[in-house]
């Protein structure tokens, strides 16, 4: 079965979800996204950094540079507002999937 690439609009939800697991730097976030999506994420990795910056501008993420294993790295963490947004967006996504499934199932019965 061919797998479609992840829709760009859903990348924000996935990023919030990954950072909700714990504070992480950009490389780790992208690595987790690649592993968890099992190859479905195939956008250029560099496009994730503007998305992280945008989420930070929206107050959903916060970041600061800190020393990790002798290197200065920017670490992202979820804000309280980001946590609320994650719950809302996750619920909206699940509702959408449920609604689409209902329609697909109904169609399949008549196929």
């Amino acid at each position: 079965m061919n797998r479609e690439p992840l829709p760009t609009g859903q990348v924000d939800l996935l990023l919030l979800s990954i950072v909700a697991r714990g504070p992480a730097h950009g490389y780790a976030i992208i690595d987790t996204l690649r592993v968890l999506s099992a190859g479905a994420f195939d956008q250029p990795e560099g496009t994730i950094y503007p998305a992280l910056y945008r989420l930070e501008e929206q107050g959903l993420l916060a970041s600061r540079e800190q020393a990790v294993a002798g290197r200065r790295r920017r670490i992202y963490r979820l804000t309280a507002r980001g946590r609320r947004a994650l719950v809302e967006r996750r619920d909206a996504w699940r509702a959408l999937v449920r609604d689409v499934d209902v329609i697909l199932e109904a169609g399949a019965r008549h196929a």
Binding site: G26, P44, G46, T47, Y49, P50, E65, R74
Partner: protein, 209 residues
């Protein structure tokens, strides 16, 4: 000969030159990402050169990444251009005043105001040059910094003297206050832009070394 990662970072900071503060942050973050990706590939047996090429290819074209940042709001270069337009208008207005108004009202100060008009024109031209082609050249950034400090000082002086004259009952010359405020604003924006761009230049020199 620059390595693929060094060349990539130079290209990326060039693409982000309109946002010097962001360019510095992004360059450091992307440098960290690329070095980790390359180190991982080297551990799996790739040569250093191939590992860096692969890391850079996965990152995506610098223009694509810079384009996504550009959509996120106005840049400091955009602010500098907007402020420059205001200063250019002041320059044109001063030349008009020197040619039409002052010969009748105050001929002794024509030369002084023409010098101010010329400085405003030079400040506008230097700002435009630094935003477009001269941002990598230290001499232009120094010139922008010097003109920015001069404009800020002159603008503040003009604004303060106008307000003092008004307080002393000698009338209110709103156009002088407006000129002072605009020059001060342009001066501050240009000074910040020059400092941030110089910091990016230092970072680029460090990356290319």
């Amino acid at each position: 000969m620059r390595s693929p990662i060094e060349q990539y970072l130079l290209d990326l900071t060039r693409e982000l030159r309109a946002r010097p503060l962001l360019a510095r942050r992004v360059a450091r973050e992307v440098a960290d990402h690329l070095s980790e990706a390359a180190a991982r590939a080297v551990r799996t047996g790739a040569s250093r050169e191939d590992a860096e090429r692969s890391a850079v290819a996965q990152m995506g074209p610098p223009r694509l990444i810079a384009g996504k940042y550009r959509r996120l709001g106005p840049s400091s270069a955009g602010l500098l251009v907007a402020a420059s337009i205001g200063t250019a208008m002041i320059s044109v207005w001063l030349v008009f005043v020197c040619a039409v108004v002052l010969p009748r009202r105050d001929p002794d100060h024509i030369a002084m105001w023409l010098v101010v008009a010329a400085l405003c024109a030079a400040f506008t031209a230097t700002s435009a040059a630094c935003v477009s082609f001269a941002w990598r050249r230290p001499a232009w950034l120094v010139a922008l910094g010097v003109l920015a400090i001069t404009a800020t000082a002159f603008g503040l002086l003009a604004a303060i003297q106008t307000l003092q004259a008004m307080a002393a009952g000698r009338g209110f010359e709103g156009y002088l206050l407006l000129m002072g405020v605009m020059l001060t604003g342009h001066g501050l924006v240009a000074a910040i832009y020059a400092i941030l761009t110089a910091r990016v230049r230092v970072l680029r020199v460090t990356m290319a070394a």
